[in-house]
Symmetry: C2
């Protein structure tokens, strides 16, 4: 496994692989890898001749009061995990190389970027779309792997890829969870013991929504209220949003008839966690 | 020469060329081809195994009160010109195929897009950057050819390509002019005889600027005033802007020390014409 920092060097490496006719899968990450990332890497390993993992904590997707500086960085552990998982190349560029001083370009996916997390993190999804666009251009992968944990991100990237005719196939992989249901996240490392215990409430609320939908509740407001009640029981929890939206436009669904995304963001102490499920209403 | 309308079909054609190891040059156009376009095609012909000309009147780069509907379309004449110039493929997609109903993505090159023409055509350069981004992704050319006539456009595309790590080399080719100096433009077809005669004043004003700079005038305001006086003599002419800017950031230059772009937009009757020169100040 190679760890490559330079853009030109990774491009040269990719060019060599291409010449040999090899297919390339990319797993774009910010590092601090966990079993969620690993599931993406494993899938990439199964479906491509070569697997590239990018590790880049992208400053442009963090707001001024967000956790860019303290975001966990663990290249040594990440490398070991990648190596054991059969990754061929880790691409780990420096910030100054990714964003030159004269940098001016932004990719914006309208509508999808201003709702859910986007409402509370202005500029976040433009930062995400732009860095992923750059990574796709640098690596020119056949397939790119994203986790459903960041469902909005994945939907935005799918939209961007389709809209800009990027020759990359996007694969969305299921959320990997702890035994108590907490979705794996690099930010779980911020939680203390009490908060960690409280954090399972996100999944409990989502399970409640799923049960209600499957049992025939169609009124989103009713479901969201029930979810609120569950989360509010936890001392350290503060809800940022709970929403039920359609999967194409991420617009709120009032009466659930088809497949919906139930998504939430909850502060547990000073840590903002997100989670979601996709549920299909039963046929009537 | 093939004329291909479908995105998937042109992608398949390009894939075949790539497999044979052939290099591809693209000349993105809105059709209504003239000798200016032809100079780009000829250069592409010299430097690549295959030449693709795209012909697409891109609605998103026209403002609501602009000439999208009446913009000249002449596929038959364009095809003949391309065939004679040795073009391999004309890519001529339909609007509905380029922009699906669910389309949401925009590429924005900050700062460079809001000045000069951008000040008077809000959204124009985002439209341009986005369609060129799409064309680059669809065709994946080695080199793309643009005319200096649309200098701001070319500078924006250069910036986008660099910022987004697109693997395309941008070539900027000189303006082709009529014998009296009028820059070739598809929009010259809108001019009546009197307007056509007046239109040469754009070049006369630029020549004046060049002479003044070469003779040591460094004060931009002085040069712009002299240019104004020349243009204002023509009955049908109405100045939209005259500016002298640097080539990297397109910021106004007050005292000319190095290379500058002298750019102007002038209404001749109901036709908006643009022109420019790049001039280097003499060493002191």
């Amino acid at each position: 496994m190679k760890i490559i920092r330079g853009i030109k060097r990774v491009q040269a490496a990719v060019r060599d692989l291409r010449k040999q006719g090899e297919t390339i899968g990319i797993v774009p990450t910010m590092g601090a890898l966990h079993a969620g990332h690993l599931s993406l890497i494993k899938q990439a390993r199964r479906e491509n001749d070569r697997v590239i993992v990018s590790i880049f904590v992208n400053p442009t997707q963090f707001g001024p009061n967000e956790d860019f500086k303290k975001y966990p960085r663990s290249l040594r552990a990440d490398s070991l995990l990648c190596k054991n998982a059969g990754v061929d190349i880790i691409f780990h560029p420096g910030v100054g190389q990714v964003y030159a001083k004269s940098y001016k370009t932004h990719v914006i996916v309208e509508k999808l970027s201003d709702v859910l997390c986007g409402e509370f993190r202005p500029g976040h999804f433009s930062g995400v779309a732009t860095i992923v666009n750059k990574l796709f251009n640098i690596i020119q992968p056949d397939v790119a792997y994203f986790g459903q944990k960041d469902a909005q991100q994945a939907i935005i990237i799918q939209q961007m890829t389709r809209d800009l005719n990027m020759p990359v196939r996007i694969r969305l992989m299921p959320i990997v969870r702890e035994p108590d249901g907490l979705a794996l996240s690099s930010r779980n490392a911020y939680l203390n013991a009490e908060q960690r215990a409280d954090a399972k409430v996100l999944f409990e609320a989502l399970e409640k929504a799923k049960t209600m939908i499957k049992q025939g509740t169609v009124n989103s407001e009713k479901i969201i209220s029930a979810m609120r009640r569950i989360i509010q029981k936890k001392r350290s929890a503060r809800i940022q949003y709970i929403e039920i939206v359609d999967l194409d436009e991420l617009r709120p669904v009032r009466l659930i008839k088809d497949k919906v995304l139930v998504a939430l963001a909850v502060w547990i102490g000073n840590t903002r966690l997100i989670d979601n499920i996709i549920v299909k209403a039963p046929k009537h």
